[in-house]
């Protein structure tokens, strides 16, 4: 469903994403893990068509995002890590606007909006300007907007940031159901427990390169990690020495 071929992104002389090739099959919840600044967000933004790759290409359901952007993007729902939305629109107006961007309108859209607002407990806020929403409420609204046109795949950057435990649980259930029905989710996260509990497959990215990919069991086997937890595996692959140094500094 999502295929990255030799994807590279340079900012001047800095290589943010370095020749990444990855395949996320249909019906899979795929986790992208990595330390801060590893290149996860840049990769996801290239998949969403917001950034142009320096080299390589992104295919969504067979369509190149930068060659056939409209048909590729019709399949996609993107959820960014920072919930910037139009402050002076109300929640319901924002959802209607996003549906319009996907060419959808009418009663079915109104029903879908009501449904999503209900699921995310935003119904009582639907006619408030978004400027009054909390960070978590904005995040819920953006998640609703990514689901409004019933996408085939969802690309989501740090989905749990700002969500209360109830909403986080709800999101996990939504993603699982979405995948079970044949949808595809590619998400980046720092929360290893979330990745371990939710993801069917993972890729660990560091310095813009994929250092490990596959199921957690595959990665354990490939790196001879025995029964190590995902956290131990992650620290082993991304340099746990920093963490130990940090603990020493904080500990005194």
């Amino acid at each position: 469903m999502i295929r990255l071929e030799n994807l590279t992104k340079n900012y001047g002389s800095f290589v943010a994403v370095d020749d990444i090739s990855l395949h996320v099959p249909r019906g899979v919840l795929y986790g992208c893990l990595g330390p801060n600044g590893a290149g996860k967000t840049t990769t996801l933004r290239m998949i969403a068509g917001i950034l142009r790759p320096t080299q390589g290409r992104v295919l969504l359901g067979g369509d190149d995002v930068h060659v056939n952007p409209l048909s590729a993007k019709m399949r996609l729902g993107f959820i960014p890590d920072r919930p910037f939305v139009y402050d002076k629109l109300t929640g319901v107006e924002f959802l209607r606007f996003v549906a319009g961007l996907y060419g959808q309108e009418g009663d079915s859209v109104e029903r879908r909006i009501a449904e999503l607002l209900e699921v995310f407990e935003l119904t009582s806020w639907q006619n408030e300007l978004i400027e009054a929403y909390s960070h978590g409420m904005r995040q819920k609204l953006i998640i609703s907007s990514a689901l409004i046109h019933r996408p085939e795949c969802i690309v989501v950057d740090e989905p749990m940031v700002g969500l209360d435990p109830k909403a986080a649980r709800l999101l996990k259930d939504i993603f699982r159901q979405f995948v079970d029905k044949g949808g595809t989710v590619l998400m980046s996260t720092h929360t290893l427990e979330v990745a371990e509990a939710m993801c069917d497959q993972i890729a660990i990215i560091q310095h813009g390169k994929v250092v490990a990919a596959g199921t957690v069991a595959d990665v354990r086997r490939d790196h001879q990690a025995g029964n190590a937890s995902l956290e131990e595996l992650f620290l082993k692959l991304t340099g746990g020495a920093h963490v130990r140094a940090l603990v020493e500094v904080l500990g005194g």
Partner: protein
């Protein structure tokens, strides 16, 4: 506890400003600096040159000359402080109540006086730099004509500083009081008061100045009355009057320390009173500013009206236009300026009507046509300023939400199309009304009416396209306040490009219109010949090129945006 210095409190601001300068230097290279210096120098020299000539003429008029010069300076300084009070009210709203650094400063153990002084300094700098720069060529002309010498420079600075400080304190105090009545974020009411106040201020200023009396000495019963009016200060309590007295006294070697003392003591007293007011009202106002964010929107006014009108359009375009209209009218920094705009348009039309063209003896057909023609250029300039304010920021304002537009299947052409027409249609209505009404007032011939209306139509399409395109080529994605976006380098380049277009189009049209005027003047029948048609075609081609090429460039630029 030792309090941080004001310099330290403002550190994030000035460090950011320095960093921006560095980035500008790295990005734009020397070209930008050269253009800015060139434009600034030309502007300064023009102001200096005009004033130099006027003052030189005044100097030659015995007795009355210095009175005229003093009155002129008084009027200029009075205009400055009026503009400054309004500008400070608006700037104080954002620096004292909405700025991003306030959470940090208010939660840190910084005392109230330091916070007040730091924010007052920031407000003063943001709102007064343009007026301060404008004062330089004006005071320089006075200094040169009246041979003020090198010491006039520090003396003028000594006079101007309290003159800038006073409106900053007053503006800040007004904002502080208003925010305690209306929450800062619910500023629709607040800014409408400010805007209406400003409109009233402009009219009041006109009444105080009574410029028409000075222009028509024959209207006075005798010379003595005229001199009495010139000698009488506009108001003895106005700081601008004190500053005028201080400056003219120095220049005429008749130095009286009282005006300068009055300026500085009043400024000191105002800062003290302002600080006390801040201590009493700021905590509550700041709290209200946090609380006032919610606004419940019921019904779907725009959906039923604009949405209904746009029904035939594809849903993506329709929703995009609706979104833009909603955002415009819900953002007070945007729509409140429409009130001022309306006042300016009324003043413009009033001025045309006040021209002594159709009073008493019949005035030559040539002059009516000439004025109508100049009106075309002037109206074009007015439109360019409006486009700079309302159309130029359109792309920049999408910056933070561009993730949504770029990740959705919205065609960028549709986005550009929506932005273009949302800006152009109101501009077209205004342009045609402005030209039509002024032409009727001028009683122009049908030929000129058709030429100017058609030209204005084509020019508006081009000006709007250029505003949108230059806004896309020089985007300001980090600026949240739409009013600040046109004051950027890109805004300046846009204005220069538009003036060049206006000059080219009016020059081309003049060739055709001159043939017409000549025929009427000679009593020959007006024949629309190949020469006239040729120049009309040139003007039309210029407008068409200025519409299509910028829009194409804007599209290409938008396709390359990365976030």
């Amino acid at each position: 506890m030792k309090q941080p210095s004001l310099w330290h409190v403002l550190q994030p601001k000035w460090r950011t400003a320095l960093q921006r300068l560095r980035e500008e230097r790295d990005r734009g290279g020397r070209g930008k600096i050269v253009i800015l210096t060139l434009v600034g120098s030309v502007f300064w020299l023009a102001v200096f040159g005009v004033l130099y000539r006027i003052l030189k003429y005044f100097r030659g008029v015995e007795d009355l000359g210095p009175l005229f010069a003093g009155k002129l300076l008084g009027l200029a300084l009075l205009s400055f402080i009026s503009i400054l009070v309004l500008s400070n009210v608006i700037t104080a709203l954002s620096s004292f109540f909405l700025a991003k650094d306030l959470d940090l400063l208010v939660s840190a153990p910084v005392d109230w006086l330091r916070l007040y002084l730091a924010k007052l300094g920031e407000t003063l700098l943001h709102s007064s730099w343009m007026v301060a720069l404008m004062a330089v060529p004006i005071l320089a002309a006075y200094g040169v004509i009246y041979r003020g010498g090198i010491l006039f420079i520090p003396y003028a600075v000594l006079v101007v500083v309290p003159l800038l400080l006073l409106p900053a304190v007053v503006g800040t105090a007004v904002t502080l009081i208003l925010v305690n009545i209306f929450p800062a974020r619910r500023t629709r009411d607040l800014l409408s008061i400010i805007a209406i106040g400003a409109a009233g201020g402009v009219i009041l200023l006109f009444r105080i100045i009574r410029p028409e009396q000075l222009a028509r000495p024959e209207g006075f019963r005798n010379l003595l009355d005229f001199i009495t009016v010139l000698r009488t200060p506009t108001s003895p309590f106005l700081p601008s009057e004190w500053a005028t007295k201080a400056i003219m006294g120095y220049l005429r070697h008749d130095l009286d320390p009282l005006p300068l003392v009055l300026l500085w003591t009043t400024a000191a007293a105002f800062v003290t009173l302002g600080a006390l007011l801040h201590r009493g009202l700021f905590p509550q106002g700041f709290t209200k500013a946090q609380e006032g964010a919610e606004r419940f929107i019921r019904g779907g006014f725009w959906r039923w009206t604009v949405g209904g009108l746009l029904k035939p359009l594809p849903v993506a375009k329709r929703e995009f236009v609706l979104k833009d209209v909603r955002l415009f009218f819900r953002d007070t920094t945007q729509w409140s300026q429409l009130i001022l705009l309306a006042v300016l348009v009324v003043v413009y039309v009033f001025n045309i009507q006040a021209l002594p063209l159709h009073r008493g003896e019949p005035v030559g057909f040539f002059y009516v046509t000439l004025v109508s023609f100049l009106n075309l250029g002037l109206a074009g300039f007015v439109l360019a300023s409006i486009a700079a304010r309302f159309v130029f920021p359109a792309v920049s304002l999408e910056g933070r939400q561009m993730w949504l537009l770029r990740s959705s299947p919205l065609d960028l052409r549709a986005l550009l199309w929506s932005k273009y027409w949302v800006g152009t249609i109101p501009l077209l209505i205004l342009a045609l009304l402005l030209t039509g009404i002024t032409n009727v007032l001028l009683q122009v011939a049908p030929f000129m009416m058709i030429v100017s209306m058609t030209a204005m139509f084509a020019l508006t399409l081009a000006i709007s396209a250029m505003a949108l395109a230059f806004g896309a080529v020089y985007p300001q994605f980090e600026t949240e306040n739409a009013a600040q976006i046109p004051t950027s380098f890109g805004g300046l380049v846009f204005m220069m490009a538009t003036i060049a277009l206006l000059a080219a189009v009016t020059l081309s049209l003049w060739q055709a219109v001159y043939t017409y005027v000549r025929a009427v003047y000679d009593g020959r029948p007006v024949v629309i010949d190949a020469w006239m048609i040729g120049w009309f075609v040139v003007a039309a081609a210029l407008c068409a090129a200025a519409t299509v090429i910028p829009l194409r460039l804007a599209l290409r630029k938008m396709e390359s945006f990365e976030f």
